[in-house]
């Protein structure tokens, strides 16, 4: 089962409408990217799907067991080691102690961190921390995985490597991934479909399917990236303009 959003709106007291009657259907096993300028409400959208925020109006359907969530900054607990951080997710999901150690091992190996299991978060690099966070998200073993700009703070080389690993993981596990980003190339590289959100309030501006052919064709991918960047720039400028007028 995927995720269904029907006329979902969200407004905060003070800031007003953040998301405006957004509807879409995300299929089971789909890798979808939500693309938008900073502050367009894409994180809020993710938080609603995760159940951290309730929509002001409209409704959404998510699988009964909820969704796993990967935060922008790894959000690891600094007093726990890498393996303990992953283990906590298993513990809170009610897995018995006996199974956990082995599962933690498997998950850390899956994100290629088998060697760093006893390290504390502050002893790991940014990329390694995000991989631990990914392992923890996978430990939740939910069909839907929500990712909130998880690679935004990483250097290009690390990000590249993680993109590859994430694609491979998605192919292996068949999870439904909703990936929020403001990085156009990242969206093209990873997802099968891109939703472009407008700013203030967030509405769906464009929907693009990304086929493997397009992804693997540098010229086509670059052309699409340019096109989407232009759309985003226009949005941002419009937003800046309204800001200036309202000031």
């Amino acid at each position: 089962m995927g995720v269904l959003l029907n006329e979902v709106s969200l407004s905060y007291p003070g800031t007003g409408l953040v998301i405006d009657r957004l509807s879409t259907e995300i299929e089971d096993g789909e890798f979808i990217a939500v693309l938008g300028a900073s502050g367009c409400g894409k994180s809020s959208l993710l938080n609603m799907i995760a159940g951290l925020l309730a929509p002001t109006s409209g409704w959404l359907e998510v699988p009964q067991d909820g969704a796993a969530f990967m935060f922008q900054d790894a959000n690891l607990l600094p007093w726990l080691t890498a393996s303990e951080n992953v283990d906590l997710a298993l513990k809170l999901a009610g897995h018995p102690v006996k199974e956990r150690a082995q599962r933690v091992d498997e998950l850390l190996k899956l994100v290629q961190l088998g060697h760093a299991s006893d390290k504390k978060p502050h002893e790991l690099s940014g990329g390694m921390r995000q991989r631990v966070a990914l392992a923890r998200a996978l430990a939740q073993d939910r069909q839907v995985l929500l990712m909130d700009e998880p690679f935004a703070a990483l250097d290009a080389i690390t990000r590249d490597m993680l993109h590859e690993q994430l694609r491979a993981l998605w192919e292996q596990t068949g999870k439904t991934i909703i990936f929020v980003t403001h990085n156009v190339r990242e969206a093209i590289r990873l997802s099968g479909r891109i939703l472009v959100l407008s700013s203030h309030p967030g509405r769906i501006l464009e929907t693009r399917r990304i086929t493997d052919d397009l992804r693997n064709n540098p010229a086509q991918a670059a052309a699409l990236a340019d096109e989407l960047t232009t759309i985003l720039r226009k949005e941002q400028r419009k937003h800046e303009l309204t800001d200036r007028i309202s000031n």
Partner: protein, 285 residues
Amino acid sequence: MSSLTESRTNVRPVRAIKLRPSGRLDAVVAPILTVVVLVSLWQIVSWVSPLREDLFPGPLSVAQKLPQLLADGSLASAVGNSLFRAISGFVIAVVIATPIALLLAHQPLLRKGVGPLVSAMQVLPSIAWVPAAIILFGLSDATIYTVLLLGAIPSIINGLLSGIDMIPSQYKSLSKVLGASKWEHVLHIELPAAMPGYVAGLRQGWAFAWRSLMAAELIAVGGSLALGVGSLLQRGRDLADLSLVMLVILTILLVGVLIELAVFAPIERKLLRDRGMSRTGENNG
């Protein structure tokens, strides 16, 4: 622009920065040095001072008092009695304060009502409670413990509360996403996350406990009460023995500081090091 060879002539050799061996050594040496200087000054002033030796004793004559107090065992037993009271009282304070702080942290309305009172209690010098406690409990250990608890509990409550307040809101999202129940959240996320603030509160709570105890022992003397360090201070006053008074003051200071350095400082350091944080002003190594 200048060519490479030209700029070479302008090269200034930059020597490697010599790293100082260890800031921790400084942290020990500097205060000791300060004490040595102060004590020397004290001695010099007492030599120069026109006052009689018994009215203004220098560190040497205070030190001469020590063998006598050690020989008759009065100092050791007073320190023993006071330490027992302080430690047992502190443990009771922790047991009482911790659940209260957790309750206040989770009941916003209660906190709005009670929180200011707790802070006000922290401002009130605990010596103010002594007369009331004596009227209620007479010259008994109950009086001493009452004063000590009223001194220590508020600062422990406030320490844990501020520790919980400083927890990043992201941790709350995390425990929700991971499906933690309220108790699981408190146990696995909230308490460990609040630990640095909690330990800081405990440290302050200890200081308040020790202080309040001295105030109580100083005033509440006699009855069924065993002699504590504070009472020894009162004895010095009764005998107009300034050397004894100074010696006791130094003992009070020393015991309080030793417990802080031996118990709380290492816990705090380990806690922060484990999380990749270090206190400002302390060495990172």
